[in-house]
C-alpha cells in the first residue's frame, strides 16, 4: 500500500489521526483513549495487516512521553510508525498491545522498566532488566543516581 493510500485508510480508522511525513516512514499520531482498538484494526484489517512489530520504544520529551511503535507488514511490506503522546508526566499509562503482538510483551516490560510507562492489561508487567526494587526509571531525562559519573 502506498503512503497516500495508507494515510487515507488510517483516517478511516481513526478520524482524529495526524500525520508527520518528515521521516523515512509515515508517522501517525494516535490518541491514548481509543488506541487499543485502533491498533487491533491495524493488525487485523486484511488490507493493512501490520503483523510485525519490529521496534517499540518511548521518548521522554519535556512535556510528554511519546510511545513509538514501528510496524510493518510481512505480506505487503509497508511500514508505519505509530506514536502516542502521553501528557501525564507523573504517571503515564497506556493500553498494552501484548495481546496483539506477542513480542510486545517483552518490549513493553522493557519500556516500563526504563521509562516508567505503565501498560494497562499487560499480562506480566514487572521490571525486565533492572532489579525489582530499583527506584526510578533510568532512561527518563530527570533520572538521577548517586553513582552516575559525569565525563
Amino acid at each position: 500500500m502506498s503512503r497516500e493510500e495508507l494515510k487515507q485508510r488510517l483516517s478511516e480508522i481513526c478520524p482524529s489521526v495526524t500525520f508527520d511525513e518528515t521521516g523515512e516512514f509515515l508517522m501517525a499520531f494516535f490518541t491514548p483513549d481509543v488506541f487499543l482498538t485502533q491498533m487491533k484494526e491495524l493488525r487485523c484489517a486484511t488490507d493493512l495487516n501490520f503483523d510485525y512489530l519490529f521496534c517499540m520504544t518511548a521518548i521522554d520529551w519535556k512535556d510528554n512521553f511519546t510511545a513509538v511503535y514501528h510496524l510493518s507488514s510481512t505480506p505487503f511490506r509497508h511500514a508505519l510508525v505509530v506514536k502516542v503522546k502521553l501528557t501525564d508526566k507523573e504517571n503515564p499509562v497506556l493500553d498494552s498491545v501484548a495481546g496483539i503482538w506477542k513480542g510486545a510483551n517483552f518490549l513493553e516490560r522493557e519500556v516500563y522498566d526504563l521509562m516508567g510507562i505503565r501498560f494497562n492489561g499487560h499480562p506480566d508487567l514487572r521490571r525486565l532488566i533492572l532489579e525489582d526494587d530499583w527506584i526510578g526509571h533510568p532512561l527518563r531525562k530527570d533520572y538521577a543516581d548517586e553513582n552516575m559519573i559525569e565525563l
Binding site: G23, E24, T57, V81, W101, K102, F106, P138, L151
Partner: protein, 372 residues
C-alpha cells in the same frame, strides 16, 4: 505427552534455575524453568545481568563516539553493529559514502558474519555435547580475526566504521589473505558436515525440536536465521538494501521447517552465501577514497532516523531521535536477540532440558545484545 492444562504452573512445582552462571547460556542469562520430570512446562527468562545502559550512555556521546559502544552489544558481529550506526548518521546527514568504502564495509561485514556463524557452529556442537567442533570452528575464525587485526587493529571490537566511510584503508595484504582463507574454508566446510550436520545423533537432537510457527515468529518480531528458519522472508540485505547489497548476487536462505534443524541449515547455507559475496567483491574493490570528507563535529538535523541492517543474528535497528545537537536525544537499539529470546518460552514448551540447550544455541543468543 502433556496436555495443555499440565502447563499451568502452581505451588510446589519443580523449578530449576538455569543460569545466570551456566555452561550453556552463552553469558549471563537466567532462565527459570518449570519442569515436569524432564519436560519443560514453562520458561521465564530473566535478563539484565549485564545491562550496561548503552542507550543512556549514547545520549551523552557524540555521533563519532557512540559507534564504538555498539561493538559491545553483539560483540560477535561488531562490524555490522558499527555499520548500522554509521549508516544512520550518514542517512541523517546525507553524506555520500565513496564506493570503495561501501565495498570495504560489505566485505568486512560478510567476513564478520562468517566468523560469527563459525563460532555459532562450534557452540552448537559444544552445547550438544560434542566438544571437538568448537576447535574446528576456531581454525578459520582465527585466521579471519587476524585479518581483521591487520586492517582494523583489533580482533573483536574493531570500531572500524566511521560516519562517511571506514577508519583506515585496507591492509595491502588484505585481498590475498582473504582469498586464501576463503579457499581454505571452502574445503574445510565439508568437515563441518562430516562432524556435525550428517551425524545421526546431532540430527536426532535438532530435528523437530523447538518448533516455532511462522505466525508466532512474526508475532514475536523474530528476525534473522531464527525467523528465516520458520519460513519468513526477512533478510534486510534483500528487502531494504544498504551499502550496495542491491548490486550483489546472493540468495536469501529460507527454510520452512521452523525447528532447530531448519535454523541450523539456514546458518550453514548463509556461510556459503557470505563466501559467494566475498568472492564477488574481493577482486572488484574500486579505487578511490575510503572515507568521505566530513566535518570534525557532526550535527544531525532535527528529526527521527531509523536504519536497519542484517547482523549475523537478525535485524538490528538503530533509532536516533535528534534535537539538532551534537549528541542524540534518544537512541534505541532494536536488537535481534531481544525479540528472538522472547520467543524462547514458546519454542521450548514441551521439550526436554536437553532440547532447551539445542534451542538456545540455534537461536544463537548473545546476551550482551539482549541486555544492551
Amino acid at each position: 505427552m502433556l496436555i495443555e492444562e499440565d502447563y499451568i504452573t502452581e505451588e510446589g512445582d519443580f523449578v530449576v534455575n538455569i543460569g545466570p552462571q551456566h555452561p550453556a547460556t552463552h553469558g549471563v542469562l537466567h532462565l527459570k524453568v518449570w519442569l515436569d520430570g524432564e519436560t519443560i512446562k514453562h520458561i521465564e527468562p530473566h535478563i539484565g545481568y549485564i545491562h550496561r545502559s548503552i542507550e543512556k550512555m549514547s545520549e551523552s556521546l557524540s555521533y563519532r563516539q557512540f559507534i564504538y559502544v555498539t561493538s559491545r552489544m553483539d560483540y560477535l558481529s561488531a562490524h555490522i553493529n558499527n555499520q548500522a550506526c554509521a549508516l544512520t548518521v550518514e542517512k541523517a546527514m546525507q553524506i555520500e559514502v565513496p564506493q570503495r568504502a561501501k565495498v570495504i564495509r560489505v566485505l568486512m561485514a560478510e567476513l564478520n558474519r562468517l566468523t560469527s556463524h563459525m563460532l555459532w557452529w562450534g557452540c552448537t556442537g559444544l552445547d550438544l555435547g560434542a566438544v571437538s567442533p568448537f576447535f574446528f570452528a576456531f581454525r578459520e575464525r582465527e585466521i579471519i580475526n587476524e585479518l581483521m587485526e591487520d586492517t582494523c587493529g583489533a580482533r573483536l571490537t574493531m570500531n572500524y566504521m566511521v560516519p562517511g566511510g571506514v577508519m583506515a584503508d585496507l591492509h595491502p595484504d588484505f585481498q590475498r589473505k582473504v582469498k586464501e582463507v576463503i579457499a581454505q574454508f571452502k574445503v574445510n566446510i565439508h568437515e563441518y558436515d562430516q562432524l556435525l550436520s550428517d551425524n545421526v545423533i546431532f540430527q536426532e537432537r535438532v530435528k523437530g525440536v523447538g518448533y516455532l510457527s511462522k505466525e508466532d515468529a512474526i508475532s514475536f518480531g523474530c528476525s534473522g536465521p531464527t525467523a528465516r528458519g520458520s519460513g519468513i522472508s526477512c533478510d534486510i540485505r534483500k528487502l531494504y538494501p544498504y551499502d550496495g547489497y542491491e548490486n550483489l548476487k546472493f540468495d536469501e536462505i529460507i527454510e520452512q521447517g521452523g525447528d532447530c534443524w531448519a535454523r541450523y541449515k539456514v546458518r550453514i547455507a548463509e556461510m556459503h552465501q557470505s563466501m559467494s559475496i566475498i568472492d564477488q567483491l574481493i577482486d572488484n574493490i574500486p579505487e578511490g577514497d575510503f572515507q568521505a570528507k566530513t566535518k570534525a563535529v557532526l550535527k544531525l538535523p532535527k528529526g527521527e532516523f531509523y536504519q536497519r541492517v542484517e547482523t549475523a543474528r537478525g535485524e538490528l535497528g538503530v533509532f536516533i531521535v535528534s534535537e539538532g545537537g551534537t549528541t542524540p536525544y534518544r537512541i534505541k537499539y532494536r536488537s535481534p536477540n531481544f525479540s528472538n529470546l522472547s520467543a524462547l518460552p514458546t519454542m521450548a514448551k514441551g521439550c526436554k532440558i536437553g532440547d532447551l540447550v539445542a534451542i538456545m544455541s540455534t537461536i544463537d543468543l548473545v546476551i550482551p545484545d539482549v541486555d544492551r
